[in-house]
């Protein structure tokens, strides 16, 4: 066992028959008796036997993925019909076929498990622009029950039609042929036209009827008749008269089957008939059919001992699902299967390379993304960084301009406010001859009033205004003359900006007309544009 086989999911091939279930894992197999409920599902005992056989034949390790179970279904309930659809792309085939099934089957396609095969490989459409398909369909409930049962055992089930698997694909020029598979009470009959499956029927005659006929002929019970038939099939020694009696009975009994196989008068007959079965008596039936239908060629099952579980359908199923390029002739699917290039959707499940590649790309992207980000984003980041550094260089300029303007603003002295306060404080009849102010807040007022008391009032009002921190009367000189007056000279110091902040000093002056818009300092044409700012005098 190689290392990879430890991780390989198990595969199993199964044929469901009306009376039995046959399983094979490629090396060993089992044959189980089966009984079915009315809904087409196995009864409890059959289910238990089946689950036990699955566990024995394909034990699954905990680290292994779910196994694949290829299941061939009997003809009971399967409808096989040729369907033509317009030549179209591969992805639309299922849609067109679903429309045809909707029109031609009594049950809508969503209640069916169905599949198709295209005999001519789909490449060449017919001259009328149609493509020929063979569609097989069965009610989906029994198939779903089986799929659920297999899923519970850890298998993904893929279903096919057993009748299409019992003989190798026939060549297109093989003419009409027929495949018969002998059951206990019925025989599956699949007719081929030029190598293409056309009709699937269940004929009401089986090996059980043959046993009954022999038992009646020999006046023996069924077990004895069955033993006699088996001995005849094996070629065991027996009296010639008994052999002739049994052989004649077989030929007479098989005539019923031959009648079911015969084509109506006028229709082309079969060129070949293939007889299969899971018991050695099938060889007897094939020989009898050859005698009844002579000169028609009838092929019986190959000589040799039947191995457990390896029925003709299981062998065909295994052959169709292993090896490169192999595929199921018809895959019955409940849900739309992934579209495949072969058209039938019945190929061996292959490794989804597309998803593997996508996953690999994602992982690689995950690992390489930080490096790719560095590789791709570096030039962009360098450009951004250069821009940011350029902005950073401008930050110092912003600081410089802000500080400059802040200085200019902070050094705008409140000359207008001082004039307003002095004008408000001046008593009636007083005259301010001179008013001097400087940036340090020193104010000097010169003038006269008519009476000495007005000087006091004037001074008190200046103090009460809250604008000045100190008002000093430096000189008060009464003038005696034609009109009496008192000359005065006051000095004061205005308060700091914080103390002046809360004062309400008169009406707000309207904004003067802007002498310059955003770039006012350029709005006024220089008197001497090219001149320096050297001293000038006018």
């Amino acid at each position: 066992m190689s290392f990879m086989e430890l991780f390989r999911a198990p595969s199993l091939w199964v044929e469901i028959r009306p009376e039995s279930i046959h399983l094979h894992n490629g090396a060993a197999g089992e044959d189980l008796p089966a009984a079915w409920e009315a809904a087409g599902t196995p009864d409890a005992a059959t289910r238990d036997r089946l689950l036990g056989a699955l566990a024995r034949l394909a034990p699954r390790k905990p680290w292994q993925a779910r196994g694949t179970l290829w299941c061939a279904l009997p003809a009971r309930g399967v409808s096989l019909r040729p369907v033509s659809v317009p030549a179209t792309t591969q992805t639309d085939v299922r849609k067109f076929l679903a429309l045809q099934i909707e029109a031609r089957f009594p049950v809508p396609p969503d209640q069916l498990a169905w599949g198709w095969s295209e005999p001519s490989s789909g490449a060449a459409a017919r001259p009328d622009g149609l493509r020929e398909f063979t569609v097989a369909a069965i009610r989906r409930e029994p198939v779903e029950r089986l799929a659920e049962l297999f899923a519970a055992a850890g298998f993904n089930a893929i279903f096919g039609v057993a009748a299409t698997l019992r003989c190798r694909p026939l060549p297109e020029n093989a003419g009409d042929a027929c495949s018969l598979d002998l059951g206990t009470r019925s025989t599956e009959c699949l007719e081929y036209g030029n190598g293409v499956p056309t009709t699937l029927r269940s004929l009401p005659w089986g090996l059980g009827d043959l046993v009954d006929a022999v038992a009646a002929e020999l006046a023996a019970d069924r077990n004895e008749a069955a033993a006699a038939l088996a001995a005849l099939a094996r070629g065991d020694a027996m009296p010639p008269s008994r052999r002739a009696a049994i052989a004649g009975t077989v030929e007479r009994a098989v005539a019923v089957l031959a009648d079911g196989v015969r084509r109506p008068a006028g229709a082309p007959g079969f060129s070949r008939i293939l007889v299969t079965g899971i018991s050695p008596e099938a060889r007897l039936v094939a020989d009898a059919l050859a005698a009844v239908l002579r000169p028609l060629a009838v092929d019986g099952p190959p000589q040799g001992t039947l191995r457990p579980g390896l029925t003709p359908a299981v062998a065909g199923l295994r052959s169709a699902t292993t090896g490169a390029g192999s595929r199921l002739p018809i895959r019955l699917a409940v849900a739309p299967p992934p579209a495949t290039a072969d058209g039938g959707g019945g190929g061996v499940p292959s490794i989804p390379w597309k998803w593997v590649v996508r996953g690999g790309v994602l992982v690689a992207a995950l690992v390489l993304f930080p490096y790719a980000e560095a590789f791709v984003g570096r030039p962009i980041l360098t450009r951004r960084l250069a821009a940011l550094r350029k902005d950073t260089a401008r930050l110092g300029e912003i600081d410089r301009r802000l500080e400059f303007l802040q200085y200019v603003t902070d050094n705008q002295s409140p000359y207008i406010d001082a004039v307003y306060v002095v004008a408000n404080a001046a008593p009636p009849g007083a005259r301010i001859e001179s008013l001097s102010m400087n940036r340090r807040g020193e104010v000097s007022i010169g003038g006269y009033t008519q009476m000495p008391q007005q000087v006091v009032d004037f001074r008190n009002k200046l103090v009460d205004s809250g604008f000045f921190s100190g008002v000093v009367l430096e000189e008060q000189t009464p003038i005696v003359g034609g009109q009496p007056r008192v000359n005065l000279r006051l000095t004061a110091q205005w308060k700091g900006p914080a103390a002046r902040e809360s004062l309400k000093l008169g009406p707000v002056l309207p904004d003067p007309p802007k002498t310059n818009a955003p770039a006012t300092n350029n709005a006024v044409p220089p008197t001497r544009p090219a001149a320096t700012n050297g001293p000038a005098q006018s």
């Binding site: 490096y371 980000e373 560095a374 590789f375 570096r378 980041l381 960084l385 940011l388 550094r389 902005d391 950073t392 930050l395 300029e397 912003i398 600081d399 410089r400 301009r401 802000l402 500080e403 400059f404 303007l405 802040q406 200085y407 200019v408 603003t409 902070d410 050094n411 705008q412 000359y415 207008i416 004039v419 001179s434 008013l435 001097s436 102010m437 400087n438 940036r439 340090r440 807040g441 900006p497 003067p512 802007k514 002498t515 310059n516 818009a517 955003p518 770039a519 006012t520 300092n521 006024v524 220089p526 008197t527 001497r528 001149a531 320096t532 700012n533 001293p535 000038a536 005098q537 006018s538």
Partner: protein, 186 residues
């Protein structure tokens, strides 16, 4: 040419695979080391860019404040020209006085002391009605030039009753020489 036996072919094949694996590992490690260095450099750049960005963002407030001051003072320091700012300021003063109805008097300009960040001083005299004089004074801080009024003298004009004479002493600041300076407590 001598034909290799299957054993020799197998040996050559194994040797080739070994060399290929060695080269792949050698250059792979070097390549990854280079990529790692590039990534580290990129991360350093990202950190630097983030630091710079946060620094620039702190300046948004200052830029807004600057814009408000520029709007209020009608002054854009970046457009001041050292060579012509005194002349332009003088012209703007005279234009503002004349447009306000003042009659111009003497105007004197002087070069600033080199130790100060002053471009020069302007002594300006004008005469007119009190309302015109006060309007002119109110307009001084919106001239659009970096002017600080050093002193103001108001006095009666002898040419007529109700006439005022204003004498201004202004300092024109030099933005080019500007460095950090504590504001005065005027």
């Amino acid at each position: 040419m001598q034909t290799l036996t299957p054993r020799e072919q197998r040996t050559v094949r194994l040797a080739a695979i070994g060399i290929a694996v060695y080269l792949a590992l050698f250059f792979g490690f070097k390549g990854f080391a280079g990529l790692g260095a590039m990534r580290a450099d990129h991360e350093r750049l990202v950190r630097a860019a983030n630091a710079l960005r946060s620094e620039v963002q702190t300046y948004q407030t200052r830029a807004l404040k600057l814009q408000r001051l520029m709007d209020r003072t009608q002054l854009d320091p970046g457009r001041l020209s050292t060579n012509t700012v005194v002349a332009q300021t003088s012209a703007a003063l005279q234009l503002a006085a004349q447009s306000g109805g003042l009659q111009l008097g003497a105007v004197r300009e002087s070069v600033a002391r080199s130790t100060e960040r002053e471009m020069g001083t302007i002594q300006f005299e004008a005469m007119g009605q009190p309302a015109a004089v006060l309007g002119f004074m109110a307009r001084l801080d919106k001239l659009g030039f970096p002017v600080v009024v050093e002193s103001v003298q108001l006095g009666a004009d002898s040419r007529g009753p109700g006439m005022l004479r204003i004498h201004l002493n202004l300092i024109v600041l030099d933005f080019e020489q500007w460095k950090s300076r504590q504001p005065s407590h005027a």
